[in-house]
């Protein structure tokens, strides 16, 4: 921290930091505890990886993780593939009803999940997707797609128009303009959108709980929610916390992996 920073600013920072990090820290501390220790309120615990060993040695945890990874990746990829051309049209072309479509998309992504749950449930059973991973992909796309289109349309809109025209004069059709000129330029935006979509689906709980029944299609958030102890009078906080913390690792890893791609400033030098 810079010397001479005013005290109130440091205080505000400290409060914000504690507010954000304390729950995580508490989860970490709890994940090291077992048995009666779980009820301790001491803010420290000796690192004990027993809970982690137990979670990781359970084959069903690995299967659930694979399910989560599969459905979230599928939603991310499908959403990007469908959203790119839609966002291109909405962001770079002007046509009748464009504003209405954008407003509808925004409206869709604002609906509470619970509002469309019963409708989606009927649809999914009719399609024969119930208790399959496909049901999650289908349901998650309902929110992921408008979100991705809305985000990407903004990136497309901000690209300088002269670039299109220069490319047209160079002999590019729409498809080549999209793939050779625009996509490389908004690559950071595409990566960010894909990551956000992935994370939303990775953490998605309500749909996963509603549309899956058996272990075969269960995802991590649901499986963590269903962790229980042999006795009905006991809740295994330690194991739940270690499973939860483990579940946060893949998104963090992905963000680190793509971090350098998200660096902005790629369009510098296009105009002026």
């Amino acid at each position: 921290m810079r010397p001479g920073s005013p005290f109130p600013r440091r205080l505000a920072l400290a409060v914000a930091l504690v507010q954000t990090l304390f729950p995580l820290y508490w989860a970490l501390v709890t994940s090291f505890r077992r048995g009666p220790q779980l009820f301790s309120t001491a803010p420290f615990a000796r690192p004990d990886f027993g809970n982690y060993r137990q979670v990781l040695s359970d084959p069903s945890w690995w299967r659930d993780a694979a399910n989560s990874l599969l459905s979230a990746s599928a939603v991310g990829v499908i959403a990007l593939l469908l959203a790119l051309p839609a966002a291109y049209a909405l962001g770079r072309m002007s046509f009748r009803g464009r504003g209405v479509i954008l407003a509808l998309l925004l409206g869709c992504s604002m609906l509470p999940q619970i509002a469309i749950l019963s409708g989606l449930f009927t649809l999914i059973s009719r399609l024969g997707l119930y208790n399959r991973l496909g049901s999650l992909i289908f349901a998650d796309l309902f929110f992921a797609l408008p979100f991705a289109i809305w985000l990407l349309a903004g990136f497309f809109r901000d690209l300088p128009r002269d670039l299109d025209e220069a490319a047209m004069l160079d002999g590019c059709g729409v498809l080549r303009r999209l793939t050779l000129i625009h996509m490389p330029l908004i690559w950071p935006g595409i990566v960010a959108t894909g990551l956000l979509t992935f994370m939303n689906c990775w953490n998605e709980f309500l749909f996963a709980l509603t549309f899956t029944l058996s272990d075969s299609a269960r995802t991590l958030p649901v499986s963590i929610g269903l962790i229980s102890a042999p006795s009905r009078f006991e809740l295994p906080f330690g194991i739940i916390m270690s499973a939860s913390l483990l579940a946060t690792l893949p998104p963090i890893f992905l963000v680190l992996l793509f971090q350098h791609r998200i660096a902005a400033g790629l369009t510098a030098g296009a105009v002026k």
Binding site: A166, M168, D170, G171, L266, G269
Partner: protein, 363 residues
Amino acid sequence: MALVELKNIRKTYHAAEIVRGVSLTIQPGEFVVFVGPSGCGKSTLLRMIAGLEDISSGELLMDGRVMNAVEPAGRGLAMVFQSYALYPHMTVRRNMEFGLRLARMPDAERAKRVGEVARILKLEPYLDCKPGALSGGQRQRVAIGRAIVRHPKLFLFDEPLSNLDAELRGHMRVELATLHRRLGATTIYVTHDQVEAMTMADRIVVLRDGAIEQVGTPLELYRRPCNRFVAGFIGSPAMNFLPLTVVPTETHEVRVELAGGVSLTLPIHYQTRLVGIPATLGIRPEHVRIAHGDEAAFRGNVLAVEHLGALTLVHVRLPDDRMVVIQAEGDADLRIGADLSFAFPAAHCHLFDAAGVSCALAG
């Protein structure tokens, strides 16, 4: 080299007519400059020629072929944008060869062309840089290079120098003119800067409100502007305008009376229709002569003096509060607040009627 013909070209946007019936023939190899104030439709006209805007009505012909419906890439032209519009994710080399790649030109020939253009534009050291690493002038050269490598029949420039600083602009002006002589391609150049127009053009097209005001060589426009608008637009500093009345005479020449009772005889064919209407006298600052004695018909008070080194601009206030700018020698000794007497040599006076149309064409 292309022969470009515009036949009554019009552009309407939402019921507003931006370009109102422009007809023009541009000879192969000619350097034509479209000039006019902002909003005069010059850029729209250029974009219609490029194929970036639809032509609402009229015909565009290149070498005798109607081009109205031909795709921009199929018109055999290249355009340099005001914003350069370089592809930021590609190196200078890729930027220049992008169009050639899309046209599936063999590698060897492509490399040869890019090398040649890079040499002409002194871009060789930067071929593997991205545009973001270049200065404004270098980016501008890349944009020009990207246009040249395609060996277009027609070059279009849309205010290409307006993002550069004054010094670089002067330099690029000379470079572009040299380049045009070397390549010989037909060129259409849009600018709002009359200096660029005067220095580079074979012919200037002055546009206002979507219509052509006058077409001619720079000197034609300078010497014989067809109306008050062109007279005021071409030439720097701008022409002085003073109101006058034409008095009836028996001679062939026009006799005019200006405020303050000054009268002049102009070598312009006398027309009775001019008598009594509110007309305007135009004279360029460089033609006003500081004089003494009988010759000096006008007197004024020096309000401001701008020393430009080689010459001096004097802003003089006439007794009726109108301003006249006089261009004097660089070493002229003029003091603010002093009285100054001067004359308007009749041969350099322009006379514009009430509608602003020049009456000088007869003389």
